[in-house]
């Protein structure tokens, strides 16, 4: 059973709170970042520990930092780096901002500008060397961080014909996947100098592909879309010499029957294989992926 252990407002206006677009846990499990329509990014600290009895007071969030002068429009996504020292936010103002932790506080250290319109998602690669961003301008950008923490543009790709909604990194390799309003997903790989499109899968869902997530070893991928279908992809030819020959293939589709709303969000639990989806009907659904 899931039960609520606390409720906190991203926006100080509790009467008329703004939309919270995204939350993200820091890898140490004690820091949470949130972002929303109020153009702000908040960094929260988790105080105390929740006990089995569910005593609500023993566990709470305390807002440590409000980052309110980085963006001029709604902030769509936040993500921590894997080393835990950086945070990246993506906004409808077309900018991506990198924050660095100093003395426990996150402060803006770089602004990655170049997208023409709303940036929908920004994430660090497993090694933290790259940040991938995607936008309504149909492009996917790869930003490379050098040893001094300076970012430069590594590649700009425009493989989609519409708004790119989401990008997700493979859990262990320099492999990225993007999904779009054009109903397709695209895979990208680093060839040592440039990022290149490795595989294109069209008509993955009817309508927009909203999100996707890899499993713990990165051999399976789940996508969700406007058609309220949850689709599972499996990687074939893994471990062959040539990276080009490893391809993804759809193996199963699960129609969520009891809704007519899109499924917007998906997350794959790395330890117990449970897939959680969030949809336009305000419901969270959990399902086990079972055996392959």
């Amino acid at each position: 059973m899931l039960r609520q252990i606390g409720k906190f407002f991203h926006d100080t206006n509790e009467e008329l709170p703004c939309r919270v677009w995204m939350m993200c846990w820091h890898h140490d499990g004690r820091i949470l970042a949130s972002c929303g329509d109020d153009k702000k990014v908040r960094v929260w600290a988790l105080i105390g520990a929740h006990d089995a009895d569910g005593d609500e007071d023993s566990c709470k969030l305390e807002c440590k930092t409000v980052l309110d002068d980085s963006h001029t429009r709604a902030v769509r996504s936040v993500a921590f780096s894997h080393d835990g020292r950086s945070l990246v936010s993506a906004s409808f103002d077309a900018a991506v901002v990198i924050y660095q932790q100093e003395d426990g506080e996150f402060t803006e250290c770089d602004k990655l500008e170049g997208h023409e319109s709303e940036v929908k998602c920004a994430v660090f690669s497993k090694s933290d060397e790259f940040v991938a961003t995607c936008s309504r301008d149909k492009s996917v950008w790869f930003w490379q961080q050098d040893e001094y923490g300076d970012f430069s543009v590594s590649s700009i790709l425009q493989p989609h014909t519409q708004d790119v909604k989401h990008v997700a990194w493979h859990p262990t390799e320099d492999l990225l996947v993007s999904c779009s309003y054009d109903s397709s997903i695209r895979f990208y790989r680093y060839d040592g100098e440039d990022w290149v499109t490795q595989q294109k899968i069209d008509a993955v869902h009817e309508g927009t592909v909203w999100s996707m997530a890899f499993d713990a070893d990165g051999n399976r991928l789940v996508t969700v879309g406007e058609d309220h279908v949850v689709q599972l992809f499996v990687r074939e030819n893994v471990g062959t010499k040539s990276a080009d020959s490893d391809t993804w293939k759809s193996v199963c589709q699960f129609h969520v029957e009891d809704t007519r709303w899109p499924i917007y969000s998906v997350s794959w639990n790395a330890t117990n294989d449970v897939i959680a989806t969030g949809g336009g009907d305000s419901k969270i659904r959990l399902r086990s992926s079972g055996d392959r």
Binding site: S117, S139, S155, Q158
Partner: protein, 454 residues
């Protein structure tokens, strides 16, 4: 969209969203106010008789100039371009003018030579004859005009204060378009005011040649064949209209690939040996004799290298070039005493342009002059060049095009003999002729739909 010939820069900075081109264009609403008749007041119970009223409203037409003045979709502009700047229009222009001139870029010649497996010299003759058989009067080399630009590069750099550097080359219309639409404040003051070879040729034809032959600019038709679709956009700029008229100095631009298609549509034509042309060689006939003007410094116009060599000729020193990636080159000139006296870069491709802009924003860019080209690989790899199917083939042919280009003769008779002559004649026709070698840029305001904030 994906396969349009426009450079990535132009496409990306003009993304059309969810709406098809014709649906979202607001230009007709803005520019042509439909005059409302007072009679049209709504009256209760007054039935309108059909046929009687409703005066014919003129069909609103979007022109390319409208598209260029708007920061909206490129798709509309593209549709209009395809209509306005095609071989159809070209032949129409040729047949309805007293004098017709076609300017051919050397990148076009080398691209077609590689495709048709011949020498650039032979290709130049074939292209020239192809047009002349179709009643074109002169087929000329765009490099002749580039020579005017090259002669002014160092002078312009000298007059650019350190705070306004780097000076950015202006020959790439994709970059100019991007700068005007996306980074006006930062980039426009830094773009070289010297015209591109195409634009200088336009003035040479519609000003110099028109005056010389006592023709009106509208009696002359001038088209250009370019390695680049964005050149069509450039040709349509307001800055390149003949003074006080609506006549463009370059009426029409077609791409290398379009020329190839047009030339191979019909049976291969035999090349006529020994033409009847007994005139002394000049800038108007040299190309037809297979004499192409070559330049040092690569297939993108050689602006950066020209600055370096002119600078060294003037101040001494030695240059060293570092290749950071296949589209990024840095050259430094070191004086005999060991000081770095000049920093010049070649920056090709959208990715490297982004990094240049980032460095300029943070004032980390230390170069004096940058040759900027929107296409990776520069103009030899322009969006209008002949296309090949596989990546391997593309790379192989691009290398051949570049090699061909680099082997073009650097000692051109035309340049040595005719350039000074044309310059002096132009000067005697109009002592302010130099103004035709310069242009300016302006920030394109974002349109209403893009200013919406939520």
């Amino acid at each position: 969209m994906e396969d349009s010939g426009f450079s990535g820069v132009v496409r990306l900075s003009n993304v059309s969203d969810f709406i098809a081109p014709n649906l979202d264009c607001i230009i007709p609403l803005e520019t042509k106010k439909v005059e409302k008749e007072v009679k049209d007041e709504v009256k209760i119970n007054a039935r309108m008789k059909k046929k009687e009223k409703l005066p014919e409203k003129p069909a609103v037409k979007i022109t390319l100039a409208d598209c260029l003045a708007c920061n909206g979709c490129i798709t509309s502009a593209e549709t209009v371009l395809i209509e306005e700047q095609s071989f159809g229009k070209l032949w129409q222009g040729v047949s309805s003018s007293k004098l017709s001139v076609i300017t051919i870029s050397p990148q076009t010649i080398t691209s077609l030579a590689v495709k048709l497996e011949t020498t650039p010299q032979d290709m130049a003759i074939r292209i020239s004859q192809f047009f002349k058989k179709r009643r074109v009067h002169h087929v000329i080399d765009s490099s002749f005009a580039r020579h005017f630009a090259h002669r002014m590069l160092l002078e312009e750099l000298h007059s650019t204060p350190a705070t306004s550097r780097p000076l950015l080359s202006s020959a790439c219309p994709g970059f100019v378009c991007y700068a005007e639409k996306s980074h006006g404040e930062l980039l426009i003051p830094r773009i070289s005011k010297i015209r591109s070879p195409q634009a200088i040729t336009g003035a040479l034809i519609k000003h110099f040649l028109a005056k010389k032959l006592a023709l009106s600019p509208c009696e002359i038709f001038h088209a250009a064949v370019m390695p680049c679709f964005d050149k069509k956009l450039e040709a349509s700029r307001d800055q390149f209209k003949v003074d006080g008229t609506q006549v463009q100095e370059t009426d029409c631009v077609v791409s290398s690939a379009e020329l190839l298609e047009e030339m191979t549509k019909e049976e291969q034509e035999e090349v006529i040996e020994g033409s009847e042309d007994v005139e002394e060689e000049n800038w108007l006939n040299a190309l037809g004799r297979g004499h192409i003007i070559g330049e040092e410094g690569g297939a993108s116009g050689g602006y950066a290298d020209r600055i370096v060599s002119d600078f060294i000729a003037e101040n001494g020193g030695t240059s060293k070039t570092e290749t950071l990636n296949k589209n990024l080159f840095y050259t430094t000139v070191t004086s005999p005493s060991g000081d770095v006296t000049l920093r010049v870069a070649k920056v090709y491709g959208f990715r490297n342009i982004q990094n240049l802009v980032r460095k300029m924003k943070t004032k980390k860019e230390k170069t004096d002059y940058v040759e900027v080209m929107a296409c990776p690989g520069g103009c030899a790899n322009g969006g209008g060049q002949v296309r090949y199917d596989t990546i391997g083939e593309r790379e192989e042919k691009l290398k051949l095009v570049e090699e061909n280009y680099n082997h073009l003769s650097k000692n051109s008779h035309v340049l040595e003999g005719d350039w000074e002559k044309v310059k002096n004649e132009w000067d005697s026709i109009d002592e302010n002729w130099r103004r035709f070698l310069y242009t300016d840029y302006k920030t394109v305001e974002t349109n209403v739909t893009q200013a919406l904030k939520w």
